[in-house]
């Protein structure tokens, strides 16, 4: 047995970290092959840098408003006294100002991290609920399963936007609430069905039975065997959920139904309700809505692209070779 002493030369946690890193690298290498996935990732990174790094820096330096300052770049209360608003893009305001004199660029950047948070928060909730409910429903079956599946059918079928529109009429919905609502709704919705069917295929795998024969409990099996096996799919769906959440926020803000101080949808709403979106010709006040519109499409699309790239990681059958 003496040579066995050398078997484990490193502490377990180090090995695990290495393993995780190796697994990540491997998946990353597959992901990297997907041009579309990489495109999405780059876009997301650019947005993340803009929102989480560039904006705070700008706000703290160039855009810092002082007591005496005449120009304020606050995205919500900012106002440039020297301009006729909305003003064209200029050196001072690279994307111009909105009809009430606020800097469009600052609005765009200010909203970016919020959109991210909204999307990711909603997606996390979705995935958490979806994974838990999906695996538990699959594993235990019976009434529980039937109930959650019917519920999922229902939520899946109904136009989320319509639901949110009506809901927003009833109550004051802000970003966090919205993320919660979208997260919960879609968590019990389609993703549950997908993850459940994935969990069902895992559930009947022999390694589950092996574990049972060793005396493993249901809880252990669900969280040690089933959940890790549906996780990649959850992660994939998370990306699509982000798209959904950001898009819903934009639509509701556009319709003026959300209670947010600033967001991309609201920027478009401001230009539309002020009569600047489609005026004499559509591009006349382009800076009021093109940046926000583009940002929505880009970020939603980017997460979607990432999802598709991940799809090739998760689903080897889609890979080309």
């Amino acid at each position: 047995m003496s040579e066995l002493q050398t078997v484990v030369k490193e502490p377990l946690w180090k090995i695990r970290i290495k393993l995780a890193w190796r697994g990540f690298l491997k998946n990353w290498n597959i992901f990297r092959q997907s041009k579309i996935g990489m495109l999405g990732l780059w876009i997301v990174i650019v947005f993340a840098i803009l929102g989480f790094v560039v904006y705070p820096i700008l706000a703290a330096t160039v855009w810092r408003s002082s007591l005496a300052a005449t120009v304020s770049y606050d995205p919500i209360t900012g106002y440039d006294f020297q301009k006729i608003n909305p003003s064209h893009p200029s050196l001072q305001h690279p994307l111009g100002t909105d009809p009430i004199g606020r800097d469009i660029l600052s609005q765009l950047l200010y909203s970016t991290p919020r959109e991210f948070m909204l999307g990711i928060f909603a997606a996390l909730i979705t995935v958490f609920i979806g994974t838990t409910v999906g695996t538990v429903a699959a594993y235990y079956g019976g009434i529980l399963d039937t109930f959650f599946m019917r519920l999922a059918d229902l939520i899946l079928l109904f136009p989320m936007i319509a639901f949110l529109i009506v809901l927003s009429g009833m109550m004051k919905i802000n970003m966090i609430m919205l993320a919660l609502i979208i997260g919960i709704l879609s968590g019990f919705g389609g993703i549950t069905i997908v993850l459940r069917s994935q969990a069902l295929t895992v559930k009947v795998k022999p390694f589950i039975e092996s574990a049972k024969v060793s005396g493993a409990r249901s809880f252990y099996i669900v969280f040690h065997h089933i959940v890790p096996n549906v996780m990649p799919l959850s992660f994939l769906y998370m990306m699509f959920s982000v798209t959904g959440a950001i898009f819903s926020e934009a639509v509701l803000s556009f319709l003026g139904l959300l209670n947010v101080k600033m967001s991309w949808g609201l920027m478009i709403h401001t230009s539309e309700s002020g009569g600047y979106l489609l005026g004499a010709y559509i591009g006349r006040y382009w800076w009021l809505w093109v940046p926000a519109g583009l940002a929505i499409t880009l970020l939603c699309g980017a997460f979607y692209f990432i999802g598709r790239g991940l799809d090739e990681v998760v689903n080897p059958r889609l890979r080309r070779r």
Binding site: L154, L277, L278, T297, R317
Partner: protein, 384 residues
Amino acid sequence: MGKYIGKRLFQIVILLVIYIAVVFFILHAMPGGMKALFISNPRLTPEAQQAILKAFGLDKPPLTQFLIYMRNSFTLNFGVSFSHYPTPVWEIIKERLPRTALLFITATIISFLIGFHSGKVLAWKRGKAVEYVSTIGGVVAYTIFTPVLAFLLIWFFGAYLRLFPLNQFLNPDLWANTSFSSQVIFLRLLLTASIIGAVILVALILSYRLSHNIRSRRLIFYIPTISSVVIAVFIWWKSPYGIYGADILWHMVLPVVEVTIISYAGIMLVMRDSMLETVKEDFITTARAKGLPDRVVRDKHAARTALLPVITNFIISLGFTLSGGIITETLFSWPGMGLAMYEAVISHDYPLAAGCLIFTGIFVLFAHLVVDIVYAFLDPRIRY
């Protein structure tokens, strides 16, 4: 088959009950719920408020309220609209439904066909530039901000090219002196569409039942299909209503284009994935080994089989399409259910909003049923 439909209908009823319960919960149990709104609505006299409270049983304990609400919903009694007081909600929905149905069904079918065919070709042309372009194009279409797209369409086709009317759903100049209302035309259009749809479906079934020969199958399918369309066009052409029908269709083009653009891509991408998986199946290799021409392998074997998961996904996308439809309706002045819902929310007309929501639910559930039946028909493995 009948038993299957019965079973599905039963499920639909169950789903509806849950759904109505959810709507009820949202409208009543929430702070500032229905009751508070009824009472604080300054547009109604206290008597009217009391009457409505009574009609909805809002003065009763919650459970009784719920049961009453459920019963009322199933008898299509969604109460009385605030903003159209005292018109019953059902009256408004009845008027809006055919319009939404026409727009939605047309757009859904078109986007399905486009998505199906383009997805098919995409998968077949894997790795070519066309794949990347269409995928990115598809995703952009999928994620483009719906209202912005609507404005672009309105501006480009309506204002700039002046190809299509700006907004609305009919031309007042033409309709100023008609003795009938557009509802008549909508219903006739829907009827025509359903008859053609039924003919196509019967032709499809017959072509499979009657013949095994591909060519004669095509004949059996295309002759009735094309002739029913031709006959329909001819009848409309000859009838005094023809021009009015054409006017409505003319106005429908842009909204349909919008809904199609935002929803075809989803189907396209799913179809592509499904095709890619199917192409790896052994029976495709077998079909090739049999010496079948490339097109036959693609269309008859790969696409036909890949269609099945796409249909499942299509059901899932119904909600999405409908959501897009709501935004489209509000922006294109298409007075359907979506617009009604939006207006109701804006004017705090909750009975109407709830009614629309429930009815949209019923609508989608039935669309679901139809798609399910089609699915069952397409997949021989499903038997009842």
